[in-house]
Every structure is written in C-alpha cells, then in structure tokens.
Symmetry: C2
Subunit: 220 residues, 2 copies
C-alpha cells in the first residue's frame, strides 16, 4: 500500500505525539500539522477506514500496529536522508530538516535500504535521533550524562538521573525536559559548569552537578 504525502504526514505526526500514552487530540494534531481541526477530523475518518488508527468521535486517536509500522518507515527515511545530506552533501544539521520532509515521501523501499547501506547503516541522524532499521526497529541508544559529551553536538535529553523534587524544581526553572534538544557550547574549567544552548532560547549556564544528572543519547 502507498499513502499520499498528506496521509503520511498525519501518520508521522500522530506517532510523535502519542509518546505520552494518552490519545492524541484533534487540536494537538491540527497544531502540529499547521492545519484546522475540521480538516483533521475529515482525515482521521479516512485513516480509520484504512485501519491505520483507532478513532472514536471526541475521543482522540491512536495508531494501530500497522500505523506504527508505516510511521517508523517514514521516520527511517527522514533520518537517513538527513544523515546523507549532512555527511555526504555537507549541509549543516540545522538546514536538513525541511529537505528531508520532502525526501521522506519518496516511495521506493529498495532505494532507502540501499541508501542505508551506502551510508554505513548509521544508528543516529545528525540531530542525535535514532534511525529505525529496515524492519522498523528503533535502536535504543546508550544514554550518557550531559557532563561527558562533546561541544557543539546536538543532543536530545532522554533521561533524568536522580529524580528528586529538588532536581525537578530546577529543571522546571531551566525549562529542560525529556525530549529537549540542546548543545553544550562551552565548558568552564573554573567550576566545570556548562554553557547550554536550547533551540529558540538564549544560552544559559548549568552546574556540573546538574549536568551529571541529565542523560542524553550517544553512542560510538
């Protein structure tokens, strides 16, 4: 089966939004897809027909096993193309997302599997996100503490070490949470504190102690 780019975008958006176990709401989807809630409702009915998701009026939506499989293939394509653009065509990692949004809808499975081999079967895309394999399995990346990573490499917060209320209070204040994308810009040798840059926010400094309690994905 083949799906329109529009349908693929819905499937992908639902996949990303349904992490938190609850059903995905019509409004959340409309927002993620930059469209109107009424349009979302229309499309959900069609995707339900195709058994790609479970949907009940007013109850939100959730992908079926089939839907997840499709989502993972699209994500695989997106991330492999991003890797190609950065590693082979010298693009900066900030500029590849938009192009990959188009490339992810190219249908050939053979193409993407060949591309995967050509690239040496990378596990992570340039943003640090894991790349699903040809069977749709998403590798679980090793977590290491933010304290130990290289400068200027984009990373995603994937875990919090010592989940005390005190730590949570500080995280709240700094607005760091699971899924936050950030880079370490500098290490200050005076107290080993780190300068952090999160997307759409001014850089700020965190202590080494906090950094040790923030886990990011890494590997190799």
């Amino acid at each position: 089966m083949k799906y329109s780019s529009s349908k693929e975008n819905y499937i992908k958006a639902i996949f990303h939004l349904q992490r938190s176990s609850e059903n995905v709401s019509t409004n959340a989807l409309a927002n993620a897809l930059q469209t109107k809630p009424a349009s979302v409702t229309d499309m959900l009915k069609k995707l339900k027909e195709q058994k790609i998701l479970q949907y009940e009026r007013y109850k939100g939506v959730r992908l079926t096993a089939e839907g997840k499989k499709i989502a993972l293939l699209i994500i695989r394509k997106h991330r492999l193309w991003e890797y190609f653009l950065v590693e082979k065509l010298q693009f900066g990692w900030e500029e590849v997302h938009e192009i990959a949004e188009e490339l992810e809808h190219i249908s050939s499975k053979k193409l993407i599997d060949r591309l995967d081999d050509f690239l040496g079967n990378p596990r992570k895309d340039p943003h640090g996100d894991p790349i699903p394999d040809a069977n749709g399995k998403m590798p679980v990346l090793q977590q290491i503490s933010l304290d130990a990573i290289e400068l200027n490499k984009p990373m995603e917060i994937t875990g919090i070490g010592n989940q005390t209320p005190e730590l949570m209070e500080l995280l709240q204040r700094t607005n760091i949470k699971i899924g936050s994308k950030l880079e370490v810009k500098k290490k200050f040798s005076f107290d080993n504190s780190l300068e952090i840059k999160m997307r759409n926010a001014a850089p700020f400094i965190i202590s080494q102690f906090l950094a040790k309690n923030l886990l990011v994905n890494d590997e190799e």
Copy 2:
C-alpha cells in the same frame, strides 16, 4: 516559483515532444502523460496563465523561454538522481528511471547543486543522456560512430552520417531513428557486423558500414 508535480510533468513532456520544431499536439501530450485529451486542455489553460507556454485553441503548444528553463531544471534533477542511483547505490541503469521520476520533483535547488558536486559534475546520465548544468545549459556531447563504442552501454542515436535516400530506406526498415536508445550486444569478427538491442524490440544485426554511419553521443 514552485510548481506541482503534475505541472512539472506536463512541462517536461512538452519539452521532450517539441524537439521537432512543430507545436506539440494535445493528443501527443495526452498519450505521453497517460491521461485524457480533455485533461490536457484544462492544464494547458492553467500553464498558459502562468506564462509557461504559448497556447491557442486547436493550435497546439510550445514552451516559452521560462518554460524551457523549468524543463531543463527538472531534467537536470532527473538525470543527476539517476547517476547517483547507479554510481553510488549500485542500481542497474534500467531500474532507475521510475525512482528518478519521483526524485526530480524535490524542490531544493541547493540540494541538486550539492549533489552535482558530490557526483563530480557528470556530463551524462547512465542512459547516455546529457545533464544540464546549474544554469540550465545542456552540454553538447561529442558524437562518435556506433561502430566504435563499447558493448552493453546504453547509447542514444544523435545523428546520421551520410543522409542518402538509400541509407534512409534501410533505417526505416530497421526502425532506427534520431533519439532511439540502443545497446551493442556483440561484434561479429567475421564481417564486423553488430548485434543491436533496442528497447521493446528483438535484437537484430546491422552491418559495419551502417554502424559507421550512425552517430551516438559519447565522451569522457
């Protein structure tokens, strides 16, 4: 400006059909695009609005300078992607056309220029067709006689040597014409005749004398 994949396909088809100086007919386009003449008429009106082509009812159509520029960019993309698929991803040259039909609609100009550099600025695609450069200039490939080429390399007939009626008569019979795609499968040392395979046709044999009068593009 950006055009839908459908519009791009019309532009490309017109470009390929208008070689022979006459206007391109609605029927020829419908046939090339596997659609109905009525649909073609609809689309031609829209493309005329956008100054991409000159069109008068019942008189056929011809690209404007702007239209040709767009066509050459699409052809550039198509052929560079084909080259990539064959040279980097180990596809056979017969299987890349379909995939390139999708890839040619990816919009990023920067992407295609980077890809061009990555591939080493090739002049010909895997089928032997010339690749337009970043300015839309199509290189004129050197013509050499069919007698002199390697076995099993796809070539296109780009010229006829000695245009006598006698030669033309023979070409008519063998169905070889400018634009024909073919491969030389074998050379027979007995009389230096060649076994030729054209797409969608049974292989046949031509004399060395005929082969010397058929020009194909080559280079490198």
